[in-house]
């Protein structure tokens, strides 16, 4: 469905991703974990075209899309929720949802968005920028339902969300995976990421150090300890 092959990418003169291959297929739940500054955001931005692939390839539905523009990739069904700022602050919540829908699903956009996040109903006519931090994140995530994607990429899914809502979001993501949509999440809380995913990539200093099922990763304690010591504590305690 969506694939990055031996991708090299970065900013200006610095190279961040050094030959990363990653794949998300239909109905698959994937998560990417790694310490701060490992290049997770860079990876997602490269997948959706915000950063050019310097060498290697980006393949969507079996077709080479290495040189495609961001909006063309988005039209092909790739939905990227960026880290921390996925809304247009000056527009109302309603206008945000309608824009997210693109030209086809405009009519039902608000209805679908609210069905995923009923908390926003009261705030439909509010400027998105004046929503609370968590409400903004919910609005950003509503794009997943509103835009009919075939693959969803979420950077820092639970940023600024209350624990209850985080639970809800992962339930919700689980549901859309079962509907046949591929989902890739980047997540600081490794516990959530591992419980959710059927395939895990561990990224470190711009290179993959692990790719496989989460339970196998659990068995490779040494590796885990090396890269994510702090996270391990957390995953044990819960």
């Amino acid at each position: 469905m969506l694939e990055l092959r031996e991708a090299v990418a970065g900013y200006g003169d610095s190279t961040v991703l050094r030959g990363v291959s990653i794949e998300v297929s239909a109905g698959q739940a994937v998560s990417v974990v790694g310490p701060n500054g490992a290049g997770k955001t860079t990876l997602i931005r490269t997948i959706c075209g915000l950063l050019p692939v310097r060498s290697g390839a980006r393949i969507i539905d079996g077709v080479d899309a290495t040189a495609q523009s961001v909006h063309a990739i988005a039209r092909a069904g790739v939905c990227h929720i960026p880290e921390g700022r996925g809304v247009f602050p000056g527009l109302s919540v309603r206008d945000n949802m309608m824009l997210f829908a693109g030209s086809d699903g405009k009519r039902t956009a608000v209805e679908r968005g609210l069905s995923a996040f009923p908390q926003l109903t009261k705030h439909l006519n509010q400027r998105a920028g004046s929503l609370s931090g968590g409400q903004q994140q919910m609005l950003a995530l509503s794009r997943v339902v509103v835009s009919n994607p075939s693959v969803v990429l979420i950077d820092e899914a639970s940023l600024g969300l209350a624990p209850v809502i985080v639970d809800e979001i992962y339930d919700f993501l689980g549901r859309i995976v079962s509907e046949g949509i591929g989902v890739l999440v980047v997540e600081q809380y490794v516990t959530h990421a591992l419980r959710f995913a059927s395939h895990v990539y561990v990224l470190q200093r711009g290179a993959l150090v692990y790719s496989g099922a989460p339970n196998e990763l659990g068995s490779q304690e040494q590796l885990f300890e090396r890269y994510l010591e702090g996270d391990l504590e957390q995953s044990r305690s819960t």
Partner: protein, 263 residues
């Protein structure tokens, strides 16, 4: 309310048009400890902090160390010895880490009068340097001192903002989701720094945070808001076991979080 109580908020109400974001909330956060303010998204936590800082119109009274500051603006309140961090970080992006942190002290020294904004005395310069050094040390970001802030990772930026607040040498500190964007290890480190600052300097802290592992570790007393209303207050362990709080906020997830330092 007594003088040694750090921050007290009485009957705070904030309206945005017809929407009541905070309704009749009273709370007090003593000096020398960290007080938590938690609640679901949109509960009114950031709004409460903004009201404590005088940047939104509100009803009710606020005192800081016994001084009524209800009618003061943001600058007046920070001159009473209070400072804050922002949910959306506000850093001096084009300056270096060191300059950011030192501005924390220098802004206070420059203050409100023309002369002090214009020139700095050698004594005040030395004070700034000392405060900066201490804050950088405390947050463990000395190696970053010459980096331009905008090129840092989210976690490092959070630490810079916190260091800047510490360098300000406040007597009371308002923190809005200081650990969001930090990974688990960094959050732990942050908790350690916060605890030691509170212990060493005896300052009061009001902490808004969603990461319950941090809250349960550093907070002694917690207030819980929902829909702008205070639904619960109590010690950390009372809060974690309250069915009300669990339903409104915690969910099933973290029911077995170890009780923190309040025990």
């Amino acid at each position: 309310m007594t003088t040694d109580t750090g921050l007290t908020v009485e009957n705070l109400t904030v309206r945005y048009g017809g929407h009541v974001a905070v309704s009749n909330v009273s709370l007090s956060a003593p000096a020398g400890s960290v007080t938590g303010l938690i609640g679901p998204n949109g509960a009114g936590k950031t709004t409460t902090l903004n009201a404590c800082f005088g940047v939104v119109k509100s009803a009710g009274e606020q005192h800081l160390f016994g001084v009524n500051m209800t009618r003061k603006g943001a600058v007046g309140r920070s001159r009473l010895g209070m400072t804050r961090t922002f949910q959306r970080m506000r850093l001096f992006d084009t300056l270096t880490v060191e300059e950011n942190v030192s501005m924390g002290r220098e802004a206070k020294a420059a203050g409100t009068t023309w002369l002090t904004q214009f020139v700095s005395s050698p004594a005040s310069r030395r004070q700034c340097e000392a405060a900066t050094r201490d804050a950088l040390n405390a947050c463990g970001i000395e190696e970053l001192r010459d980096r331009t802030v905008r090129n840092l990772s989210t976690g490092q930026r959070r630490l810079v903002e916190f260091a800047r607040a510490i360098a300000n040498e406040p007597r009371f500190l308002l923190l809005d989701e200081p650990s969001s964007g930090l990974d688990v290890r960094e959050t732990e480190g942050f908790g350690t720094v916060l605890e030691s600052i509170v212990r060493d300097r005896g300052i009061g802290v009001l902490l808004v945070e969603h990461d319950m592992s941090l809250v349960s570790r550093v907070c002694r007393y917690v207030y819980v808001l929902d829909f702008g209303i205070k639904i619960f207050e109590g010690t950390m362990s009372e809060t974690l076991t309250s069915p009300l709080v669990r339903a409104a906020y915690l969910g099933q997830e973290l029911t077995d979080v170890p009780a923190g330092s309040d025990a």
